[in-house]
């Protein structure tokens, strides 16, 4: 294993190089572009044997990898923001066709107003699209999660596509130390991909993307949900296998000083890291602060979250996106996780960081302070919002 100075985007591209997919479809969009730029260089320099298809839109990018994956190829693309929005029609087709496509998504706000910076409105809008969703705290996780994703997606009992998230600019353009597996180790972890069904296996002819009306559609969708349930059955054996190689742990929901905590914040992606810095600071002052980081958002780990949060007094949930007119996406899941507990903790939702607004340590301390004082409400609260 080698420690390299890589951006989050560079780390994703490095994982793609080692996975060496058969087909990658490329269409640029900020802040995803450096992933494809770097990967295209690998293709040009002969570092991978991938066929790189330059397409004319994100809708075409997803359509191309759907075609390739149906033909039995290991296929990938990457996107952000409105690119993912343009893909949306076929994003759902990929999961419905049970294709193990993997796709790094660099989180960026959706228009309008137009904005190139980070929030999670893009991938949250796809949370019901039938994809496995893994969120990454830093460049290292953006790298590691690519390997988890590939194995999860291709597991014959799962066969679902996976999105691997990282925060736009904050992670994608920040240089950090990343421990990179040896090529051979990475290759043997991933293994070869030999699907049981594909369009090119002429001895076992199959149809992908069939028309199903009231006759079979419902049953097909039910099978998709059962495949999601299978993620629970196989996740930890895959994660443990990766831990053997990296020494790092991959819990679905990662507890950080939660054991004796009075207040726990819950967050996704890079915010979890900044919250850890604040937890360390508060712990030095003797304050019982903790964090629960959610790695897997789809399927959502309700029982693990409930176990970690059930004894705490107050929980603050940090959302980097809205669900306009309703509880924001992460808050909604946390409330569901706690429902039915005899002494459920009080929960406060916080919206922060939309369109790349900085999340400052002072904002996080403010939230902890309010929650230590037991101040919770059903109102949305905001961090870093003017006026």
């Amino acid at each position: 294993m080698q420690k390299k100075a890589l951006t989050g985007a560079g780390a994703s591209a490095e994982a793609m190089r080692q996975i060496n997919p058969d087909v990658v479809a490329a269409y640029p969009i900020t802040p995803q572009t450096p992933i494809m730029e770097t990967f295209a260089k690998f293709v040009n320099d002969g570092k991978v044997s991938t066929e790189l298809i330059r397409v004319e839109s994100e809708h075409s990018a997803m359509s191309a990898v759907i075609g390739a994956s149906s033909a039995g190829a290991r296929a990938m693309t990457a996107t952000s923001s409105v690119g993912l929005a343009l893909m949306f029609e076929v994003v759902n087709a990929a999961s419905g066709m049970r294709l193990p496509i993997t796709m790094p998504v660099v989180n960026r706000a959706l228009s309008s107003p137009i904005n190139i910076h980070c929030d999670h409105s893009d991938t949250m809008a796809c949370r019901d699209a039938g994809w496995i969703q893994l969120y990454s705290e830093n460049a290292q996780e953006a790298y590691d999660n690519m390997f988890l994703a590939q194995k999860l997606s291709e597991h014959p009992e799962i066969l679902l596509p996976t999105m691997i998230m990282q925060d736009g600019f904050i992670t994608s353009h920040s240089v950090e130390p990343v421990e990179v597996l040896d090529d051979e180790t990475a290759k043997s972890f991933i293994g070869s991909y030999n699907p049981e069904h594909s369009l090119l296996l002429s001895k076992k002819p199959v149809t992908f993307g069939a028309l199903q009306l009231f006759d079979y559609f419902f049953e097909t969708k039910r099978q998709q949900e059962l495949a999601m349930d299978n993620v629970w059955r196989f996740y930890y054996s895959i994660a443990d296998e990766l831990t053997q190689l990296t020494g790092r742990q991959y819990p679905l929901a990662e507890p950080y000083h939660t054991e004796d905590a009075e207040v726990i914040l819950v967050a996704l992606n890079s915010a979890a890291s900044t919250i850890k810095a604040v937890v360390n600071k508060l712990r030095k002052q003797g304050k019982k602060a903790g964090l629960l980081k959610i790695r897997l958002f789809r399927p959502f780990p309700y029982s693990e979250v409930s176990q970690h949060l059930q004894k705490v007094k107050s929980v603050g949930v940090f959302d980097r996106s809205y669900s306009f007119g309703a509880n924001s996406p992460l808050l909604s899941e946390i409330i569901s996780s706690l429902f039915g507990l005899e002494q459920a903790p009080k929960v406060q939702g916080y919206i922060f960081g939309l369109g790349g607004r900085d999340l400052l340590e002072a904002d996080i301390e403010k939230a902890f302070e309010e929650l230590f004082q037991g101040k919770t409400s059903f109102e949305k609260k905001y961090l870093g919002l003017r006026g």
């Binding site: 420690k3 390299k4 100075a5 190139i116 910076h117 600019f169 904050i170 353009h173 920040s174 240089v175 950090e176 130390p177 890079s270 915010a271 890291s273 900044t274 850890k276 810095a277 360390n280 900085d358 999340l359 400052l360 340590e361």
Partner: protein, 193 residues
Amino acid sequence: MQDSGNKSMIELRFHGRGGQGAKTAAQLLVEAALKEGKFIQAFPEYGPERTGAPVKAFARISSEAILTYQPILNPDYLVVIDPTLLVNPSVTEGTTENTILIINSDSPEDEIMARVPHFKGKIYPINASGIAFEKIKMDKSNVPMLGALAKVSKVVSIACLKEAVYSHFISKSKELGEANVSALEEAYSKVNA
């Protein structure tokens, strides 16, 4: 000579204009620090990307894992690649008497001080543009600024910095690699620290 002391994390903020290499400077600095086994982080502040517009880049170097992603509000070191930016209040924002300013300038320290009376820290001018013109034949002053920074701050060794600078520019051309290393060393020896 200033010493980084026992503080576990050093925070540096680079100010330049689009195209002057503030982002590259921050990146090369942390790459050098990684070679020394330090924990590192470097990231630019992205606005609308235009050549000539003021840009900031941030770097953190630490003996412990770096967790925070907030921008650097109170820099230990301020590296100003374009001296015309100095009068912009956002450049000196968050500085204290402990902040060390390294600025690309051939003016003496007291003249610079007079331009930023509210800045209470120590100032180290270095004529990085002059060095760049001489060694690289163009005003690419980000690398000589790193040479001065290495001498003043001791956050990284000049040897590791040389390695990082060389391997970055060699991908463009051998001449550029050598010229930048030479500019780096020249600034290192010339800065009055």
